[in-house]
């Protein structure tokens, strides 16, 4: 345990040192990130205003809050992508990582955790600008704030697991981009990344409830900007935990068989 803490702290430190060198890059990157929710926000607040002030229970101010918090949750959600896995497997970097007495997933989780620390710092000024422009309405309770801070890390782990499972498919086949793109699209629609889930038809919300995606986007955002009951908040955290455990199990299972295959065909 102590060893893992030491490793995580060291790896995070390295990620931070690496990232703070790239101030210009990080801002370019963040501008790219901010554009996406701004588009959604504009579209949906236009509709809210057309409808006399609100859509799907969200006012223009509420939507602004949703999409501004979105930008933070998006940063928290950045994980080692399936394309990263594909790259690492096909270019032999996985071999070097297999030589270490530690599962590569620890490298990813710790590295991106460190990366986030830097991104959050860079994010603050952008969030301030967005707040000035779009005037969000946000008055969470203390419980909401606390749950939010737990939930963004839960979201990070859930998403890590989803994409590790997808990425590990590369151990069997090289033509994976179609699968990846399909799952990105599914996530886009079913996670609340596109629109708050309450804007979706009831049956979509129903399906989404039983899939992991919405627990990585909609749940943490709504935990802060919506009016969830304490019961809903704790259920959400529970669902995150559930998906993390499922994900862990799947990653281990696929890893077990995948590495067996990897080490029999070689790379």
């Amino acid at each position: 345990m102590k060893r893992y803490i030491d490793f995580y702290l060291t790896s995070m430190k390295i990620a931070i040192l690496e990232q703070i060198q790239y101030r210009a890059q990080n801002y370019f990157y963040l501008v790219g990130v901010v554009v996406e929710p701004t588009i959604y926000l504009v579209v949906w607040s236009t509709i809210a205003n057309q409808q006399g002030g609100s859509v799907g229970g969200y006012t223009a101010g509420g939507l602004a809050a949703y999409y501004i918090v979105w930008t933070l949750v998006r940063q928290m959600n950045v994980v080692f992508t399936p394309y990263g896995w594909e790259n690492r497997i096909q270019h032999g970097r996985l071999s070097m990582e297999l030589m270490r007495p530690m599962h590569p997933i620890h490298t990813d989780v710790s590295y991106f955790a460190g990366w986030k620390m830097v991104m959050i710092v860079f994010w603050f000024p952008l969030a301030a600008i967005l707040t000035l422009i779009f005037k969000p309405t946000l008055n969470p309770t203390w419980l909401q704030i606390i749950v939010f801070f737990i939930a963004i890390w839960g979201a990070y782990l859930v998403r890590t697991m989803i994409f590790a499972v997808l990425g590990l498919i590369t151990l069997w086949t090289t033509r994976v981009s179609a699968i990846f793109e399909l799952s990105f699209a599914l996530e886009m629609v079913l996670s609340g990344r596109f629109v708050p889930m309450t804007l979706m038809p009831a049956w979509v919300q129903h399906i989404a409830y039983y899939l992991p995606f919405q627990w990585t986007f909609y749940f943490p955002i709504n935990a802060l900007v919506g009016q969830p009951t304490p019961n809903q908040l704790f259920t959400g955290l529970g669902m995150q935990l559930f998906w993390i455990l499922i994900g862990l199990g799947l990653v281990n299972l696929i890893w077990h068989f995948g590495i067996r295959r990897f080490s029999s065909v070689g790379n």
């Binding site: 790239y22 210009a24 890059q25 370019f28 990157y29 501008v31 790219g32 990130v33 554009v35 996406e36 701004t38 588009i39 504009v42 579209v43 236009t46 509709i47 057309q50 409808q51 859509v55 799907g56 422009i133 033509r175 981009s177 179609a178 793109e181 399909l182 699209a185 886009m188 629609v189 596109f194 629109v195 804007l199 979706m200 038809p201």
Partner: protein
């Protein structure tokens, strides 16, 4: 003339290369449909709540989406791959090979790559566009059609010029994938008519990143919104951006030769 021949041979090589990988066609087609699907879901969600968005009706927005996909396909097949290769070559110094050929350097670096299968986006986009036009139930006059084509061409030129400037200036600052990422993020704003955006964003999407001219203006031509003044403005801006891109390219080449010497 020589240039056209050269462009044609690069095109042929590009196509021949990709024809070898037929599986990629299906993958690309699937990805086009996924993009179409998410786009349609977006539209559908909007129209479950309302009947018009900022004065644009459902078929009109569908037309915007079609144009967005067509233009996106052109960018992905012909413009972006060239620019990515250019960035790669600037980084590892192999741009020398292109610059020492007896052809204009800017033209050469702009015609070398062609991703044939990416054209599935163009095809799917065109289908969407045709459906939208049928739904519009309005006759498209000859002049309208002509204005649409011209606007589309001008938009393409502007996007190209913008990408070239971005490539020749910003690569000193940032990594390639971030640049691509940034461009794609900004281009995604073209999915909707820029008129719905707040003023500051609209100005940015018109004059800094010419998404407005690439997608919205052609759509305006189709939907009877285009004023001759806008078209004239597009014409002027296209020429201005081309000249500017040329100037920036020259500067870039000079500093590149200086750096590697």
């Amino acid at each position: 003339m020589k240039i056209i021949k050269l462009a044609w041979s690069y095109l042929r090589i590009g196509i021949a290369n990709e024809l070898q990988y037929r599986v990629n066609f299906f993958i690309q087609l699937l990805q086009s449909f996924i993009a179409l699907g998410t786009g349609l879901i977006g539209l559908w969600l909007v129209f479950t709540q309302t009947t018009q968005l900022g004065g644009w009706s459902q078929p009109e927005l569908l037309a915007v989406m079609g144009i967005y996909m067509v233009m996106g396909g052109v960018i992905q097949s012909a413009i972006q791959p060239n620019m990515q290769r250019l960035m790669d070559e600037i980084q590892d110094g192999s741009l020398d090979f292109a610059l020492t050929k007896p052809v204009d350097g800017q033209i050469l670096v702009s015609i070398r790559e062609f991703r044939f299968w990416q054209l599935t986006d163009v095809v799917v986009g065109l289908v969407v566009l045709v459906i939208a036009v049928v739904q519009l139930q309005e006759k498209i006059g000859v002049w309208q059609a002509l204005a649409f084509m011209v606007a589309l061409l001008l938009g393409g030129i502007m996007i190209y010029s913008f990408w070239l400037m971005l490539t020749t200036t910003a690569f000193w600052l940032i990594r390639i994938w971030e640049l691509v990422n940034l461009f794609q993020g900004l281009y995604a704003a073209g999915r909707w008519p820029v008129t719905i955006y707040p003023q500051w964003l609209r100005l940015g999407l018109t004059f800094i990143v010419p998404v407005a001219f690439a997608v919205t203006v052609p759509a305006e031509a189709l939907t009877n919104r285009l004023t001759p003044l806008t078209l004239l403005g597009a014409f002027g801006l296209a020429i201005l951006l081309m000249l500017l891109a040329r100037f920036v390219w020259r500067l870039g080449v000079r500093s590149y030769s200086g750096a590697s010497a």
